[in-house]
């Protein structure tokens, strides 16, 4: 039974289902409804099939290798290699795509009649297939092909809602950035090919001892940049907060939840698997980047009042947290501490899974909110929990999970990441120890700020009173959308409670990647699902924690409700605000909430505060008619790095184009003669 499910037929079946869904959607494009149902249904089937396949691969522990070489093209082989790591990413992707497809059935309805639904269904399915292939391919060229297809499909999805010029711009930025990233990846693979003679990962890995160190280092840096663009590390992240909000929400959920993880997957695959052994400084570089990403990511998130951009910046933060695990694993494996490396990688993998779940949940619920209110601006929300309680509850679950608060899943992966860093402090020598101290502090700061940010996000969106007419008329999401969100919310809880079991599974995956063997077990699960690190240095029990956190407040409630003063009467009344006429304009806004943190970190964020006052009459500047304060934070990288470079290129372009193509035919002929003379001169030299 297991072997049947784990057979490649299942994978092919999954791909075929997505294919049928995509092509069928195009054929059915005349009918919006049919195209939607068809593509979503097949995406659902495909996700389930892929999930079953990947889970049974993991369960049976087998590795699946398939290869078809191309007759026409040497070097290109359609090579799949599904080991535990790939299977794990397959699981992650298919879980998220399953719920997003379910949600999509309801969400897509808003595009009926405005856009071509068949086209959306095609791209959506293509996107998922490409992601599945990205994490399973084991040939550099094949990988690049599916990688670019994934990027292209997601680009078209980002630019899908094309009537908004912002989305088109976002798509442009996204595709340009990802293309430049691909150029770096291409170079990395070509470098490897030049020195190993193959694009196949297994061959490259086998030939690794013969590759000179500086080539490996170059490959590392190139791949870090290339995959870093996709993963959204700072400072290569600028496309991410623009592109993720632009796509339809269920696509944003997939992009943020799993697509950026493909960058992480390749980093793990290359740095910890193919290119091993790695020097120490790789890990240090990754750690530094990770720290920058997580701290700055969460700070920028705090400054946002566009709900999807806020979530997108949190993706950057969480990528940073995942990279903390990856970077620590690199450092540990370079120092020969394979046990610790396994621990760190396990943490990274677990956070990958968790972030996929809760971030897609958050994007889906944000999508419901946007669907209901027609705006992404959080300042125009408020009080939505009364109008859309289910969405509010799911967003709350996601918020608790992403803030790493117990007992949901985010806490346990962050806990594990912390443990890896703690062990780094405890077991490494002087300089590396200080590095880990700094990194630990950064992670703690990040998680603190994340809590603040999600208090803001949830509070400003769902609590208090509606701040716009659209928000007053908001409505609950449709049943399928709720089902999609509910599934992910349940997973947040389930993965949290079952974290010890999952961590144990992930540890075997990590051991497989690092080929560390069973002896390198730092995480043990003792009876009662108690997770224990380094022989009891740290222990935590997820079920107990969950039980207590649910039971104790319930007990408190029962006692206070029924044990004391049972005849108490609870009435509702106005909010007390000193007797004034409280309006929703007096509520704390998103900008107001974050203002103090922004000002504290103004050295990093460089906010610009603008006051503008309009006076009643010009002569007496005493009575202002209106006052406004704008607090805006611009991405410093955009201002100080990307914009100058871009403007420089534009200038250079004008200069070259107008200088050479000056319209003067004499000049043109002069060029020819100059070239001729120079070359003839060269003949003399050679």
């Amino acid at each position: 039974m297991m072997s049947a499910l784990a057979s490649p037929t299942m994978l092919i079946a999954a791909m075929a289902l997505f294919g049928i869904g995509g092509v069928g959607a195009v054929l059915l494009r005349k009918s919006d409804r049919l195209a939607n149902y068809w593509s979503s249904a097949f995406a659902l089937f495909g996700s389930v099939t892929a999930l079953v396949f990947a889970v049974s691969m993991l369960a049976s522990g087998q590795t699946f290798v398939a290869q078809t070489t191309s007759d026409s093209f040497p070097l290109l082989s359609f090579a799949l290699n599904i080991d535990r790591l790939a299977a794990f990413f397959l699981v992650t992707i298919s879980i998220v795509t399953f719920f997003c497809s379910l949600y999509g059935i309801g969400y897509i309805k808003q595009y009926y009649g405005r856009y071509n639904i068949g086209y959306l269904g095609f791209l959506y399915n293509l996107f998922i297939v490409a992601m599945l292939l990205v994490v399973t391919s084991s040939n550099g060229i094949f990988f690049l092909i599916v990688w670019e297809i994934m990027s292209l499909a997601s680009y078209f999805l980002v630019a899908y809602d094309r009537h908004d010029p912002e989305n088109v711009k976002a798509g442009f930025l996204y595709l340009v950035m990802t293309h430049i990233g691909t150029a770096f990846i291409l170079l990395a693979f070509i470098l490897l090919y030049v020195h190993t003679g193959s694009f196949d990962f297994t061959v490259i890995q086998a030939a690794m001892p013969t590759v000179p160190a500086h080539i490996k280092d170059s490959v590392f840096l190139l791949a870090l940049i290339g995959f870093g663009v996709k993963a959204g590390i700072i400072p290569l992240h600028i496309w991410l907060p623009a592109a993720h909000p632009a796509a339809p929400s269920h696509v944003s959920a997939i992009m943020s939840g799993v697509m950026i993880k493909t960058g992480i997957y390749m980093m793990i695959r290359l740095f910890l698997d193919v290119l091993q052994p790695a020097p120490l400084w790789w890990g240090i570089v990754v750690l530094v980047i990770a720290v920058a990403s997580c701290v700055l990511g969460v700070l920028y998130a705090l400054t946002e009042h566009d709900i999807k951009r806020l979530l997108a910046y949190h993706s950057i933060e969480n990528i940073g947290i995942i990279l903390l695990g990856v970077g620590s694993a690199l450092v540990f494996s370079a120092l020969g501490m394979s046990g610790l490396a396994v621990l760190a990688l396990t943490a990274a993998l677990f956070h990958t899974l968790n972030h996929a779940i809760f971030k897609s949940l958050l994007f889906l619920s944000a999508g419901s909110v946007i669907h209901a209110t027609g705006t992404r601006n959080m300042e125009k929300y408020g009080g939505l929990i009364k109008l859309m309680p289910a969405t509010g509850l799911f967003f709350l679950v996601g918020s608790i999970a992403i803030s790493a608060l117990p007992p949901l899943n985010g806490f346990f992966s962050e806990w594990l990441t912390f443990q890896a860093l703690f062990q780094g402090i405890a077991q490494t020598d002087f300089y590396i120890k200080w590095l880990f101290i700094g990194v630990t502090a950064a992670l703690a700061l990040t998680s603190g700020l994340a809590v603040a940010c999600f208090v803001k996000a949830f509070g400003v969106t769902f609590l208090a009173r509606p701040r716009s007419q659209r928000a007053e008329k908001a409505h609950e999401a449709s049943a399928v959308m709720i089902a999609g969100m509910a599934g992910l919310a349940v997973l947040c809880v389930a993965v949290g409670v079952g974290s010890s079991w999952i961590i144990a599974q992930l540890q075997t995956i990590a051991q497989g990647v690092l080929s560390a063997g069973d002896h390198a077990t730092l995480v043990t699960v003792t009876s009662g699902h108690i997770l224990s690190i380094a022989e009891g240095f740290a222990t935590v029990s997820a079920p107990l924690l969950s039980l207590l956190l649910i039971a104790v407040p319930l007990v408190v409630w029962t006692i206070t409700r029924f044990g004391i003063n049972r005849s108490q009467r609870v009435t509702t009344g106005r909010t007390w605000d000193g007797g004034t006429d409280l309006t929703s304009r007096m509520e704390i806004t998103s900008t107001g909430f974050a203002r103090s943190i922004i000002l504290i970190f103004r050295g990093l964020l460089k906010p610009s505060l603008q006051h503008s006052v309009e006076y009643e009459d010009a002569a007496s500047r005493l009575i202002p008619r209106s006052r406004s304060v704008t607090l805006s934070v611009q991405d410093v990288y955009r201002r100080y790095l990307y914009r100058p470079v871009f403007i420089g290129f534009i200038h250079l372009s004008h200069w070259i184009k107008n200088g050479i193509q000056n319209g003067n035919i004499n000049a043109y002929i002069l060029y020819i003669l100059v070239v001729l003379l120079v070359m003839l001169g060269l003949v003399g030299v050679w």
Binding site: S653, K657, L676, W686
Partner: protein, 482 residues
């Protein structure tokens, strides 16, 4: 014989279209002639693939590379004439050109095709040169087709620059002969005999000769900095002519350079010609990349894109080995894609009445199919998978990285920059709100079929090369890459 039949067919069609007043006759005759040409080209390819060089007479020699080029020319030529009929028809009906022009077009274009075919299959270098020069003359009229000052200026520049270039090329060819005659070669000098004598040629003369050939025929290819005629000629001529210039004439000229290159390489070793090609290739890439970034006319952009691809091919041949294989593939892909791009650009022009990017926007709304094709062809042209140019570029870079890392990295970055610039313009054209007066030109599906067919062909060739084709490419690589 095949070649002569095909050329005869083309010339007949040319005559018919000039003689008969009825537009349909000329167009139909051309399409039939081109169709025959394609059949002939396929037959030729099959024959060369199975039996080796095809030498029907003293004047004609079809080696694998020539056969491939003939195939490319024929495909692009057929597509162009199928496209040209409805395209020009529409322009006639809009009053942009007179009905007489329609006939003139087919008359000239058939001549142009015949010259290209003869040039690429000529056994004699001087004959090849003569026919190439003849293409210059026939196309000059096609470039000045719209008979406006700007088009006439473009044609004039084209004529002068190309003639200058070809004169240098001619001088180069003569230098080859002068070098060989000293080593006892007399009479009718063919490519083969030149090659056979190559070992004994004076290396110094060969180097000088190759420089002249490279600069001369490089002008025709459009390698920078001899490229200056290209943006003007491409943007002013009718769309199908642009397709032919980029998709057919460029390969012909490039193949001629290659034929001289192999002789040079035999005489003085591969490094000399490789370095020269590399210099021109990188220059072309850089100039094209930076020019595209701020271009304001989407047809001029095609010209720069051609320059970029010519540069890439030059690099591929310069790197040799896998690079040469990839460069030949690139040649095929580029011709098909660029022709398709010109057709879609022509459709855009028909709908928006302007080739300026600022006048064109919201194409996805006005002409969704054309816009979609334009997008896909753009992606194909800039080397995104699954389209074949991705593979050929990858191979070219792979071939060059070890020996010439800096050149390769510069080229890679330039290619990425081309993508950025190209995408910037495509984005501006496709999205946004359409201007007033834009109208859908899709009513004639024959305006859409040629680019669709070309795109599908590229997609097929990207993953599957028919065995004869692969044999031809491999054989060509074996011959031309020493």
């Amino acid at each position: 014989m095949i070649i002569y039949i095909v050329v005869g067919g083309l010339l007949t069609a040319s005559l018919l279209s000039l003689l008969f007043k009825n537009r349909v006759v000329g167009a139909a005759a051309s399409i039939i002639a081109h169709g025959l040409g394609l059949i002939g080209a396929v037959a030729l390819c099959l024959r060369v693939a199975s039996d080796g060089d095809y030498i029907p007479s003293l004047f004609t020699l079809v080696d694998p590379l020539s056969a491939l080029t003939v195939l490319i020319i024929s495909i692009v030529g057929l597509a162009a004439s199928v496209y040209a009929a409805p395209y020009l028809d529409r322009e006639v009906s809009k009053g942009i050109i007179g009905p007489k022009r329609f006939r003139q077009y087919f008359g000239l274009v058939n001549l142009f095709m015949a010259c290209m075919l003869l040039s690429v299959t000529a056994a004699h270098p001087i004959a090849a040169w003569i026919f190439l020069e003849a293409t210059t003359l026939s196309t000059a009229f096609l470039i000045s087709f719209y008979d406006r000052p700007s088009t006439i200026e473009a044609a004039w520049k084209y004529l002068i620059i190309n003639s200058t270039g070809l004169l240098l090329g001619f001088f180069g060819a003569l230098l080859f002969f002068s070098a060989t005659s000293r080593s006892g070669l007399d009479g009718f000098v063919t490519w083969q005999s030149l090659l056979q004598q190559a070992q004994s040629i004076d290396p110094g003369v060969v180097k000088v000769a190759f420089v002249f050939v490279l600069v001369g025929f490089g002008t025709k290819v459009g390698l920078a900095p001899m490229h200056a005629w290209k943006p003007d000629a491409y943007s002013k001529s009718p769309a199908p002519v642009g397709a032919l210039l980029s998709g057919a004439l460029l390969p012909v000229a490039l193949v001629t350079i290659l034929k001289f290159k192999v002789i040079t390489d035999t005489a003085v070793g591969g490094a000399f010609s490789s370095h020269l090609l590399m210099v021109l290739g990188v220059l072309s890439l850089l100039i094209a990349a930076f020019s595209i970034l701020t271009i304001r006319n989407y047809k001029r952009m095609m010209g720069y894109s051609s320059i970029e691809h010519a540069g890439l091919m030059a690099l591929g041949f310069a790197f040799g080995g896998l690079g040469a294989f990839a460069a030949i593939l690139h040649l095929i892909y580029h011709s098909l894609i660029k022709a398709g791009l010109f057709f879609t650009a022509g459709n855009l022009r028909l709908s928006f009445h302007s080739a300026k990017i600022k006048n064109v926007s919201g194409a996805l709304k006005v002409v969704p199919v054309t816009a979609g094709l334009f997008m896909l062809l753009f992606l194909a042209a800039t080397g995104l998978p699954p389209f074949g140019i991705f593979m050929s570029e990858l191979y070219i870079f792979g071939a060059g990285l070890k020996q010439y890392p800096i050149v390769t990295i510069v080229a890679l970055l330039a290619v990425a920059l081309v993508f950025v610039g190209f995408f910037r313009q495509v984005s501006a054209v496709l999205f946004g709100d359409p201007p007033e007066g834009a109208q859908d030109a899709k009513s004639n599906k024959w305006l859409l079929i040629p680019p669709i067919v070309l795109l599908s062909l590229v997609l097929v060739f990207s993953f599957y090369l028919p065995p004869p084709l692969l044999d031809l490419i491999n054989e060509a690589v074996r011959r031309y890459d020493l």
